[in-house]
């Protein structure tokens, strides 16, 4: 195969377009028992907050038709221990690193960004804005154009000019194109589409919600058509913005679908839970499929579904 498989996000080069999805690969250590992390385009780390977080009580998970719900609650060690332990380890592996951050206030995003601005070896920062804003009645940042923009602007102001910012958007909004527009205006260099959709399962034996927090984020193949739609709509409105696509990608064909819709790279999430080797398998399948469809450059396949028929 002679496919040029590289891709770029806001000027940052990646040798292939397959990334992990935040929260589905920890900081890479566990997956490194299955394959070298250098095989991935990038490792996107689990969203890190300022302080250590216990996360939610269990049950945190429920399997659903073609998917699963999760309510982990961003369990993690906090940014300081993360920078002390996880980043040096990832750098030693030679992995390309995208750090995902999450905050509970606009200022949290500023603080986290300041801590990251001089850390060597990071390719980009993903700003997870699907978190409750404690300053706004727990409303999720990503669900409102103003609060989404405020979080991204805080990150942009504090991170310096060099590190690309990727804003991760929630599909649980009326108009994702409007949210995309407001975070682009606020300084996002790229978008990650899509986060999970809010869902709920009730156990019909106990007759209570299955998850301790009642609701959880729906992921897996069940949400893939939502991801394809969101990516396609945003791509149609913003032809140049880099998009990291994700949402229920389980094989090369699924990844290709998101690429055709407009994704410059693909993150693998829930599929990793069922098979730790998923990302590598999907990477190989997508490469074969791009070649089989006659592409010499992966980048030519991006947004290819936007051409008019007969083109």
């Amino acid at each position: 195969m002679n496919l040029n498989y590289s891709t770029s996000i806001a000027g940052t080069f990646f040798p292939n377009p397959i990334f992990t999805a935040s929260g589905c690969a920890g900081s890479g250590k566990e997956l490194s028992h299955f394959f070298p992390l250098t095989e991935l385009g990038a490792v996107v780390t689990k969203s890190i907050m300022i302080k250590p977080r216990s996360g939610r009580a269990t049950p945190r998970m429920a399997e659903t038709p073609s998917g699963m719900l999760n309510s982990i609650g961003l369990q993690g060690p906090g940014i300081d221990l993360f920078l002390e332990n996880d980043i040096p380890w990832l750098r030693d592996q030679g992995a390309r690193i995208i750090v995902s951050i999450a905050g509970e206030s606009v200022d949290d995003y500023a603080v986290l960004s300041r801590k990251l601005r001089n850390v060597p070896g990071i390719s980009a920062v993903e700003v997870n804005i699907s978190c409750p804003n404690v300053e706004n009645r727990g409303q999720v940042f990503a669900c409102n154009p103003e609060t989404a923009a405020a979080a991204i602007a805080a990150a942009r102001r504090n991170i310096g000019g060099e590190l690309p910012i990727i804003a991760k958007l929630s599909p649980d909004v009326t108009d994702i194109v409007a949210i995309a527009g407001s975070v682009i205006d606020a300084g996002a260099d790229g978008l990650a589409l899509i986060n999970t959709l809010l869902g709920m399962v009730i156990d019909t034996n106990s007759m209570l919600p299955k998850l301790s927090q009642k609701t959880g984020g729906l992921s897996g193949p069940a949400i893939r058509p939502v991801a394809v739609r969101a990516i396609y709509q945003v791509r149609a409105a913003y032809p140049k913005i880099p998009i990291v696509g994700m949402g229920g990608v389980a094989n090369g064909r699924d990844a290709f679908e998101l690429v055709l819709a407009g994704a410059n790279a693909i993150s693998i999430g829930t599929a990793t839970f069922g098979d730790p080797m998923s990302a590598i398998r999907i990477k190989n399948e997508l490469e074969e499929l791009c070649t089989a469809r006659g592409f010499n450059n992966f980048s030519d396949a991006i947004s290819y579904a936007h051409r008019s028929e007969g083109e």
């Binding site: 589905c24 920890g26 299955f34 996360g55 429920a62 699963m68 906090g78 990793t272 069922g274």
Partner: protein, 230 residues
């Protein structure tokens, strides 16, 4: 089904011709175990194993009490054989709601010094729960270590007894898991580390066998007080 399933290993051995053999005991209750039980003999099944921690084996002959709840008793029989081979005294208690849910294969019974059965409806053995008979058995057999496997409520009840008798308690816990390899963070329990800090700990790779006396058992749907990062 998008997720893999986690099972306790019933037994690992070598066949006479040297081929490795891994045995699982599966009760076809959920969609995953039903799928597995429906596979034809000779079918290839994708497997990642072994994962996580195993029961710790003592270097000296001790008195061990093995406690199993329902089908959770399966991995205890191989453990009984290993302990027996190390010269340990091995007593076993198996409990379930009804007699039909007791798993006790004949060959397993041979490797224990005594076997006590409890059922909640009295359809076999002592009427009641395993925790009802434990204090007396611990005294009678001068138990040094309890090994247990079964539902979480049972493990919690055993921990209360092991703590009041000041004996070790190694338990194999059961939380629902999405990945089994340590990335999804769904299967956590509050567990005190060697540094005394209580962390939400992954039972897939830092368990399933844990020091029961260090688990902060809680069935409330909230993070208990004192947990790091609460």
């Amino acid at each position: 089904m998008v997720l893999r399933r986690a099972f306790a290993i019933y037994r690992a051995s070598h066949r006479s011709d040297g081929v490795g053999l891994l045995e699982l005991v599966v009760a076809p209750h959920g969609s995953g175990s039903k799928w597995l039980a429906a596979q034809n003999p000779g079918a290839f099944v994708d497997l990642i194993a072994p994962l996580g921690t195993a029961f710790g084996i003592p270097t000296e002959p001790i008195n061990a009490l093995l406690v199993g709840g329902g089908y959770g008793s399966a991995p205890l029989f191989a453990l009984a054989e290993v302990l027996k081979a190390r010269g340990c005294r091995v007593d076993m208690v198996l409990g379930a709601s009804v007699a039909g849910k007791i798993y006790a294969p004949l060959e397993g019974k041979r490797s224990v010094n005594s076997l006590t059965i409890t059922t909640e409806d009295g359809s076999a053995g002592v009427t009641g729960r395993v925790s009802d008979v434990l204090p007396e058995l611990i005294k009678e057999h001068e138990t040094d270590v309890i090994y247990s496997c079964g539902p979480m409520a049972m493990l919690e009840a055993i921990t209360k007894i092991s703590q009041s008798h000041e004996i070790l308690h190694q338990c194999s816990v059961e939380e629902s898991m999405a990945c089994g390899i340590g990335v999804c963070m769904t299967c956590v329990l509050p567990v005190a580390g060697d540094d005394g800090i209580i962390r939400m700990t992954r039972t897939c790779i830092e368990g399933p066998v844990m020091d029961g006396n260090k688990v902060l058992w809680s069935r409330s749907r909230e993070i208990p007080e004192g947990v790091w990062g609460r």
